[in-house]
């Protein structure tokens, strides 16, 4: 029979890394608190593991902690693997003690022993186990042998009888009240002492009427308000944690290693931090732009050659013209454009970014930028959501759960689409390289950096506007944890991220871009009045588009690209070459020729760049906004806000362009 085992622990102790190691699954991991926001399940031998979101306490304060506690109480878990960070055991023991109070089978897993040792912290697992009264094993979750050790520890945990839950000593008054209540709680489903304590704190949990009444009486007799009681409980837990840590842990590891201090000086120092972050961003973009250039050209040429070969094949088979058109001009053309122009930048930028994430750089950015974000009525954690948005806005919107205050969270959700996602990035790179700087040059990277800074500026502006109109309110308190730096497993991470991203882009290209290409070709064939359906629609939108420095085809492409931003470029080319083929437009140079032929100027390109950053998010993101906020009106606002900003800015640029002419 399968046993359900929960994986719990403070945020950023390596639960997901351990989960992946145990189950062979690939949950995303990152070196910052709050990376995992949803529970994941996986199989490992006879066990069904559930990876819970990180929590600091089982007295639920946040949604994640409620999820974690409810799972432990009612999710059917027979055992808990409690993962602790060896470097901050003093704090993580707090949660271990709470688990001990709640669950009969707890295995304490002290992770990151190697990292703690580097910082001068030594943990005596035997002593720890003795003091805690729970089995303890020390592991390094990233290493493979951890799996076997942990599994055998789990096996022996299930082999022995469940331990009765234990609590730290509470103040005498509280202990007295508990001793009156506990006999009444014998038959309850929840562990007696825990249940009595929570009832005393005034929480409503399922319990018999007699117990509830008795608890209410004791509560009145005790005369403590909720805060006093919570304080008494947390103080008792922390005192006990402190006592155990003193017995089992040597060294404090305070301030981190020399390397950590140096990095902190660079990334959070007064003078260096902001220029250093800017340089880091520029470097990242340069590698992307430069690195994408060659494979992009190769892929373009290769796919065009393959296209020509296929065309000959179709001709040799005497295929009807409509079939060749539908498959080659439509589906294949669109697919090859996505692969050659869109794929390389995505497959380079994202893995590199994952490296920074794993090293622990992202929370430092949030730390550095908290002040300007606070000035706009939000908090620095919004920058974490935005950085996730660089990969995918839907992920960024979900990631906003790390922000505790409801108002601040909504601000971050609504403005996330102002950060261009990976699906829009390559379009930006292509346009900048075609019209403003040579492809693959430092100039192109610099311009892209400027565009990103511009989008950051717009995010500040939009957040400021919202926090002074629709979302007015008090600033919620802000607590951000800065994790120790970790050396990422560069090779493994890059390869995995590269493969993941490539598979994802190809999957999306196949699912969305190819059918879209075929559909466009069909629409291009449908004649109504004096042109195809596409050209007529584009023509109708043209006056509107022109006003904003775009044209009808561009507007139509963005509208049709709603399901996936990656498809905007193939759709646009499909419209421009409606009726003709677009297999020839595989490379950047040919793309440029088509655009110039359609009358694009520098102003047009600039307006398209602006509109690429500032328009409605893709449908997946909009659905995610609805899911996270529960209301369609917020999703509508998340679409309207960037669109209004984008159109406004485009109109201004177009007007200036006309004057300079």
């Amino acid at each position: 029979m399968e046993r359900i085992v929960a994986l719990a622990g403070n945020p950023n102790v390596g639960k997901s890394t351990l989960f992946n190691q145990l189950t062979g699954l690939r949950q995303h991991t990152g070196n910052w608190a709050g990376k995992t926001v949803e529970t994941a399940r996986g199989r490992c031998g006879d066990y069904l593991l559930t990876d819970l979101p990180g929590c600091c306490s089982l007295l639920p304060r946040s949604e994640e902690e409620r999820v974690a506690r409810d799972f432990l109480l009612r999710g059917g878990a027979e055992a808990v693997i409690l993962v602790c960070d060896a470097g901050r055991l003093r704090r993580d023991l707090n949660l271990a003690l709470q688990c001990r109070e709640l669950c009969p089978r707890v295995l304490v897993c002290v992770n990151l022993l190697d990292e703690a040792e580097r910082r001068g912290v030594r943990v005596d697992c035997g002593k720890l186990s003795e003091e805690l009264g729970l089995p303890v094993i020390g592991i390094v979750a990233r290493r493979r042998e951890s799996r076997t050790r942990l599994l055998s520890a789990l096996d022996s945990l299930f082999a022995e009888a469940p331990r009765s839950p234990r609590s730290p000593p509470y103040p005498t008054e509280l202990e007295a009240a508990l001793s009156h209540l506990e006999p009444l709680a014998a038959g309850e489903a929840l562990p007696g002492r825990f249940l009595c304590l929570r009832l005393l704190a005034g929480e409503t949990l399922p319990a018999s009427a007699a117990l509830r009444e008795a608890a209410a009486r004791e509560r009145a007799a005790l005369g403590w308000n909720e805060e006093l009681l919570e304080d008494a409980v947390t103080s008792a837990l922390l005192r006990e944690a402190e006592r155990i840590a003193r017995a089992a842990v040597r060294g404090t590891g305070e301030g981190g290693s020399a390397r950590d201090r140096l990095l902190d000086c660079l990334l959070t120092g007064r003078l260096l931090a902001l220029p250093a972050l800017l340089l880091l961003l520029l470097g990242l973009l340069y590698l992307t732009v430069r690195g994408a250039n060659l494979p992009s050209a190769w892929l373009g040429e290769g796919l065009a050659a393959l296209g020509a070969l296929l065309r000959r094949g179709f001709a040799a088979l005497d295929a009807p013209g409509w079939l060749t058109g539908l498959l080659l001009d439509g589906a294949y053309g669109s697919l090859s454009l996505v692969v050659s122009v869109m794929l390389p930048p995505m497959a380079i930028f994202f893995p590199l970014f994952t490296l920074l994430e794993d090293a622990g750089v992202l929370p430092r950015v949030a730390y550095d930028l908290d002040r300007p974000f606070r000035g706009c009525g939000s908090c620095g954690k919004q920058s974490l959501c935005m950085m996730m948005g660089l990969g995918c806005n839907a992920v960024g919107v979900t990631g906003c759960r790390i922000i505790e205050g409801r108002r601040e969270r909504l601000l971050a959700v609504l403005t996330n689409a102002l950060t261009p996602c990976n699906g829009r990035f390559p379009l930006l790179i292509a346009l900048l390289s075609l019209f403003f700087a040579p492809a693959g040059s430092l100039g192109a990277a610099g311009l892209l950096c400027l565009v990103l800074l511009g989008s950051l500026g717009m995010s500040f502006a939009a957040t400021w506007l919202l926090s002074r109109s629709l979302l007015r309110g008090e600033a919620a308190p802000f607590v951000l944890e800065l994790p120790p730096y970790r050396r990422p497993q560069v090779g493994k991470l890059l390869l995995r991220s590269l493969l993941d991203r490539t598979a994802r882009v190809l999957g999306r290209a196949e699912a969305v871009a190819a059918p879209a290409g075929a559909l466009l070709w069909l629409l291009g064939q449908v004649e109504i009045g004096n042109g195809s359906l596409l050209t007529v629609c584009a023509g109708a939108l043209n006056p509107l588009g022109r006003f904003f420095g775009l044209d009808g085809a561009i507007l139509l492409a963005f509208l049709l690209g709603l399901p996936a931003n990656e498809t905007v470029l193939p759709i646009l080319l499909g419209i421009y070459t409606a009726g003709g083929g677009l297999t020839e437009a595989g490379s950047l140079a040919q793309l440029g020729a088509v655009l110039t032929q359609q009358g694009w100027t520098g102003t047009t390109a600039l307006c398209v760049v602006i509109f690429t950053v500032l328009h409605w998010p893709c449908s997946t993101t909009l659905l995610t906004v609805k899911k996270e906020t529960g209301q369609w009106r917020w999703a509508a606002l998340a679409a309207a806000l960037p669109t209004a900003l984008g159109l406004g800015l485009c109109a201004v640029v177009a007007a200036i362009g006309r004057i300079i002419g």
Binding site: R91, L238, G253, D370, L482
Partner: protein, 79 residues
């Protein structure tokens, strides 16, 4: 004195948390209780928030929140 007055490099022991609501609970969960020892590690480049070492972890807190935490400065013990 208040935690917000603690300068980078200085240590202190917490005397009282004059906070209520979610922040008070959150900080207590993170180990910031009466008697806890902490050290100011530095300030963010724009001056706020500041980073504090506490229970082996590093927390960033804003000045406004820190000004409601009473601490007692401690001499550097060297150990």
């Amino acid at each position: 004195m208040r935690l917000s007055e603690l300068r980078p490099g200085e240590r202190a022991r917490v005397r009282a948390l004059k906070l209520e609501g979610p922040l008070r609970r959150r900080l207590r969960d993170l180990g910031l209780v009466e008697g806890a020892e902490l050290r100011c590690l530095g300030r963010s480049p724009l001056g706020d928030p500041s980073a504090y070492a506490l229970c082996g972890a590093v927390l960033a807190l804003r000045r406004a929140d820190c000004s409601r935490i009473e601490v007692e400065a401690e001499e550097w013990s060297g150990s």
